[in-house]
């Protein structure tokens, strides 16, 4: 079975709105899978914070390709005027598939305004995409997919003739399985047991896999019959053959007068060397990268968990270091990873984008030099250490050492950075611990877990916006932090208890040992006095839930963390109910 990564670059249903999961719906199970705390709301940021340009997208595709070489990368775009240009960019960014999503899709639980007013019919976007790709000699490099209420073999035939070779069917498949379009997917009360976690309701689910198999077989059979009628032997032959389509002449509604469909039905002709369908694999540039050497050199560790120590030079064209070897680790050891610090690697030089991206447990990367954007993106258990080159004359704590969007979506692992990080530090971090000596704007945005220790200025404003979980400790010697913090979801506290102070001290000691930071050594010299300068940024809901969990834990009736979370969530729901009554 082919694995696909789908990047929903535009979300049809809630373009620009983002998703919100209110706290009282995040039960212990959802909290576990999303890497967050039950009872605490989850905010899905509307944009991808790591993609603000086509170059960023190209980098993300490269990251994903490294993380899993077998998977296809699929970029989903909304059908709209100009989508062809974007699709060309996507093709040049080496995506394997581009998906044109029509406006009819997304009938689930999205707001009515989004259902009615976003996107265009897939036919328009698909025709534009196909024609633009052919004209720019890119069509043979990328597979085109379409979706948006495809329901019959006739829809598939039209999609193929307009230029798609793959299709998505979701609503239809759900209806086949029993969906009655209640539009209650977000309320956990789906009466046919599809979109619900309620045990009683799930039992009402009557769908069976063979019904689906039947449905898709019949769709294919129907499409085959249409193909036979038109004289096509394969889908590839049929793609983009718009001469087989003509507008219906029997539509006499006044609104259709004056509509000219000929641009839609224009047939784009390909060059001799090109085809109208995908026939050439994308060049993914992943054949000659550091990770390939690293996998070879660390074979002993991968095979039998022996410790290895390696050293490489790195320059800024070496992107996404660590993702491919992490893929090898996860393939063999799953999420568990290797024992900590099994593979120790020292890098010298200036690392490229996405250094330590998706790095799995068992890796320890020490970088003497600096790093670009997306440092430790999706960090999954590795330990990262960065300090400036020993020959560098600048003061580490006053200079940017790693780029923007560091630790975006990190789930576990630790990092010690002797230097300042760029903007959007630790965005959507859900479990990693990071020590750094200063950050730019929007630090810790949308964070849901983990720890960030910032031994310096937070530079810009909007710290902790949408931060629903985790803790940040900010060293605030000049007492100028408070106005820079977004107070919507957090409160500012001090480090009160001895246990907490000791924990923080241990982290900073580790930072000093790993990087030799002078800021850390100064702090440690007079710790009891310096600890007073720390501001603790604590999300309000998170604190409340942690309190419940502590109560449950100290009661000693529950053993596993999961049971504790379940019980704490019950207490939370009871408290809400009694507050209402």
């Amino acid at each position: 079975m082919q694995t696909n990564y789908k990047l929903k670059w535009h979300k049809v249903q809630n373009q620009g709105e983002g998703g919100q999961l209110p706290g009282d719906k995040v039960d212990a199970w959802i909290g576990k899978t999303r890497g967050s705390t039950p009872g605490v709301g989850l905010i899905s940021p509307p944009p991808h914070h790591d993609i603000y340009s086509i170059e960023d997208l190209s980098q993300l595709i490269f990251d994903l390709k490294n993380a899993n070489r077998e998977a296809r990368v699929n970029v989903k775009l909304v059908s709209e005027a100009g989508v062809g240009t974007i699709a060309s960019g996507v093709s040049k960014a080496y995506a394997d598939v581009v998906l044109i999503a029509g406006h009819d899709g997304g009938t689930g639980a999205s707001p009515l305004s989004s259902i009615k007013h976003t996107g265009l019919p897939w036919e328009l976007g698909l025709a534009e995409t196909h024609q633009t790709l052919v004209r720019n000699k890119l069509r043979s490099r990328i597979t085109v997919q379409t979706d948006g209420q495809l329901k019959t073999p006739r829809d598939l035939a039209i999609a193929t003739l307009l230029g798609a070779e793959e299709y998505g069917m979701a609503t239809t498949a759900l209806v086949v399985e029993g969906c009655i379009m209640m539009r209650k997917c977000h309320l956990n009360t789906c009466p046919v047991g599809i979109a619900t976690q309620d045990k009683g309701l799930r039992d009402k689910f009557t769908g069976r896999a063979d019904i689906l198999v039947n449905f898709f077989t019949m769709m294919a059979e129907g499409l085959r019959e249409i193909m036979a009628e038109l004289g096509f032997k394969s889908i590839d032959e049929m793609v983009g053959q718009t001469q087989c389509l003509k507008p219906r002449s029997d539509v006499d509604h006044w609104k259709y007068k004056g509509i000219d469909l000929s641009p839609l039905l224009h047939k784009a002709e390909s060059d001799e060397s090109e085809t109208l369908y995908q026939s050439i694999a994308q060049k993914h540039l992943i054949d000659d990268i550091i990770d390939r050497n690293m996998i070879k050199d660390a074979q002993a560790a991968l095979d039998s968990q022996q410790s290895v120590e390696l050293e490489y030079d790195v320059i800024n064209t070496d992107r996404t270091v660590g993702a491919m070897i992490s893929n090898e680790i996860s393939k063999k050891y799953q999420a568990e990873g290797l024992p900590e610090n099994t593979i120790k690697v020292k890098f010298n030089g200036s690392a490229g984008q996405s250094f330590g991206c998706f790095s799995a447990k068992g890796l320890r990367f020490e970088l003497e030099g600096d790093a670009n954007d997306y440092f430790g993106k999706g960090l999954s258990g590795a330990n990262l250490v960065v300090y400036p080159s020993k020959q560098a004359k600048f003061s580490a704590s006053e200079n940017i050492l790693i780029g923007n969007v560091a630790f975006f979506g990190a789930t576990s692992g630790t990092a010690f950075i002797r230097g300042v990080a760029g903007e959007r530090f630790c965005v959507r971090n859900s479990g990693a611990t990071a020590v750094v000596e200063g950050v730019g704007d929007h630090g810790c945005e949308y964070m849901t877990g983990g720890k960030a220790v910032i031994l310096g200025s937070t530079g810009g404003r909007n710290f902790a916006a949408g931060m629903s979980g985790g803790v940040a400790y900010v060293l605030d010697k000049n007492k100028d932090f408070a106005p820079k913090c977004n107070m919507e979801m957090v409160s500012l506290e001090t480090v009160d208890t001895d246990a907490e102070s000791a924990e923080l001290k241990a982290l900073i000691t580790e930072h000093f040992n790993a990087t030799g930071s002078d800021v850390a050594s100064e702090l440690l010299e007079n710790w009891n006095n310096n600890v007073k300068h720390f501001v603790k940024v604590m999300p309000v809901d998170y604190k409340r839930m942690q309190g419940y969990m502590n109560d449950v834990r100290t009661s000693g009736n529950f053993e596993s963390e999961y049971d504790i979370a379940v019980k704490a969530f019950d207490i939370h729901l009871n408290n809400i109910a009694s507050a209402k009554a």
Binding site: T107, M181, M182, R183, K184, T189
Partner: protein
């Protein structure tokens, strides 16, 4: 919709019918009254379907097609009844229905 989980929490309850031999001698209601509070509870069972089959139908096809022949906005009254706003419910009913 008043209560999303109404249909799970509240069981279905139907009014009792009067005895057939009693009904034979008068023209009064077949069903016995149920207390208003119970009706309000039952109203919470309305699931406010995405496609309300109780309400929507093309009137030219009614009653061959499921749904109310005069397009009464049934889920809306259910909600008003659940909230105890009987007066508003009746006004809403009269918007689509001209029986007294």
């Amino acid at each position: 919709m008043g209560n999303p989980t109404g249909f799970i929490n509240v069981g279905r309850a139907l009014p009792t019918e009067r005895k057939a031999d009693e009904r034979l001698i008068d023209w009064l209601e077949v069903y016995e009254d149920i207390p208003l509070k119970d009706v309000e509870k039952q109203a919470s069972r309305c699931m406010d379907c995405g496609v309300p089959f109780c309400q929507s139908a093309k009137s030219e096809f009614a009653p061959a097609v499921a749904g109310c022949p005069v397009n009464n906005v049934i889920p809306e009254w259910n909600d008003l009844v659940y909230r105890g706003r009987w007066k508003d419910a009746v006004e809403l009913l009269h918007k689509t229905n001209n029986f007294p």
